[in-house]
Symmetry: C2
Subunit: 412 residues, 2 copies
Amino acid sequence: MALVVQKFGGTSVGNIDRIRNVARRAIATQKAGNDVVVIVSAMSGETNRLLALAHEVVKVPDAREMDVIASTGEQVTAALTAMAIQSEGGQARSLLGHQVKVLTDGAFTKARIKAIDGSKIFDATKKGEIVVVAGFQGVNESGDITTLGRGGSDTSAVAIAAAISADACEIYTDVDGVYTTDPNICPSARKIAKISYEEMLELASLGAKVLQIRSVEIAMKYGVPVHVRSSFNDAPGTWVTREDKSLEDVVVAGIAYDKGDARVHVTGVEDKPGVVAELFGALAEKNISVDMIIQNATKGHNERADVTFTLPKTDLARGRPFIDEVGKRLGALEVRYDEDIVKVSIVGLGMRSHAGIAAKMFRILATEGINIQAISTSEIKVSCVVAAKYTELAVRALHDGFGLEKTVGPTP
Amino acid sequence: MALVVQKFGGTSVGNIDRIRNVARRAIATQKAGNDVVVIVSAMSGETNRLLALAHEVVKVPDAREMDVIASTGEQVTAALTAMAIQSEGGQARSLLGHQVKVLTDGAFTKARIKAIDGSKIFDATKKGEIVVVAGFQGVNESGDITTLGRGGSDTSAVAIAAAISADACEIYTDVDGVYTTDPNICPSARKIAKISYEEMLELASLGAKVLQIRSVEIAMKYGVPVHVRSSFNDAPGTWVTREDKSLEDVVVAGIAYDKGDARVHVTGVEDKPGVVAELFGALAEKNISVDMIIQNATKGHNERADVTFTLPKTDLARGRPFIDEVGKRLGALEVRYDEDIVKVSIVGLGMRSHAGIAAKMFRILATEGINIQAISTSEIKVSCVVAAKYTELAVRALHDGFGLEKTVGPTP
């Protein structure tokens, strides 16, 4: 007998019929001999409706009160799902964040989980009940309701799975797994049967939207086996697990792309210690997170340097006047902005033991005539910034070049 | 400096503009030198929307889960109201049933309050905050969410006012007070300035829908002064308070009518001990509450009796086959049902010391040619069942006959 956590997102509980499907799936899982804990999101559209209501009252609603409102979406779905399980012949009870309890810090609208008490869950499963937990929500030390930020139900699910030592955490979604790349732009993309936490984390950070990054971090920290799969069929999806021998042979597991960043090019600043620190220290103070940073010394009689970095497009309007001003203070010759870029990345554990993977990536892009504007690497990924118009071409070329349509990882 | 509880019903918080009005009123009350606790209902229509959602899942939803869903209505309003107070320049925080905490028994959908902890409320008011409490909801010993039944926000308000020893509990509603009778059918009806708990309790039980009965019981038990008034203007409404000298002079305070009952007439049952007990004992077992009961011995060679009683129309369909069967078992000659009735009542503390009030009521009805089908009396009320078609005529005749358009109680 296993203990299984099943998480259903907003589209999977988008109407009463779908909630009934969730109920049937949970009952079937229980009948197969498992204890079942279901985590649900708000019905799709509901969170937006609630936010709109709050924004009708005031442009910038108080974060504490925002969480009181937003958490009702999951509260309603949890109770409806428990009712649906009952109406399908099962036993069920809903539990809210403050009932479980999911203890978080006090950062309203983006709280982080500190501890979870599994005892109420075990009390219920022991009685043969399926427990339906409202995702996305917790409670701080003072008993105030908190929420975990958009997509937080994934985090709830994995954290609860970790807290109760579940044998698996199934994430049901509207896609049927993690793909080698976006099937919408690359028809030969294939579902990955098994991928390591590290690779999933890189892919999620680089734009693959299947799992929330924080949920992958928690799964990795506590070794929770995560199964990403479709709520509309019974096909096996993608297992996200600890790396093992079988995964190490895969050189490149997936190709990701991210159009969310803009590139900033600051030319001709003084090349002396502390200059770059001043620029990025100041950006950090404004809570603008910078991704790739490249610095080259410019040739010339004065020792000057060029600095290139990327930052989220959503932060550009806020950051721009500020970057201009720091650039001027540092004596920059010019500050250029480019929003028309994409970051294309290859991710794979096998890179650690295979030489020449980055070189192969650059060669593939060069063969297609794609100029690389910036490069950054980590142990298991290489990212290149290129002009946005090359997105599809670059992704397809890399997907084929690294033979991903053939090597999709071992079957589990 | 006083401590004031203000309760706003569903229509008073029916949209964002009205919520803003509630916020302004609370701030004005605070600025006048009071500590303010606001209790809110769900936005009008919201509770019905939530119930419909649950009924879409299952015809008879689990009561525990029903309360999880229903309580979100007040939760949203509480947070929106807190936001509105903040946006109008005040300080505010919402508190839910489990946060306050409003401890109830475990009777989901109709829980009764056992205790209220005022400490979180005082913590907030001490900091200058207006506290907005979600009405209608509580929490049982196990931390499950409970609700107090329809109209339960009145009960929340009065119970919280009692728990924190508030100086007044203002009930804001869409009428501007308690009237001597229903102004819709009696144009000379007048607003009562002051009425006793006992009278209000009788009026509420007899069909006046201004206050929930349980809230009046709690106000009476703890001596909470209740002020029923309009949320759309600043006119003083009706004070519901302990009886005092000024109130004792009022012979009849108000006229109520209730079309919610049906009459059952069982003729010719054996007139011997235990027969009536069997009928009503059996009805009680079915949880059907019977109101007026009249028994007469029928003249004739066999000692037989007629029994007449009233019960809620809503229980009639369920009770009817059952009453027929018991009637047969008791040897009744006939069982007749009449749904076309109204119960008209006069209520007043003064009846205790004035003789002949009931006789005067019968005389007034007789003068109008209205036949009385059943009578019941208590210390401070007389109720007559008459044919429903006489409703308006009976109410107006009694209102004028007892001079209510003149004696509307002392001004406070």
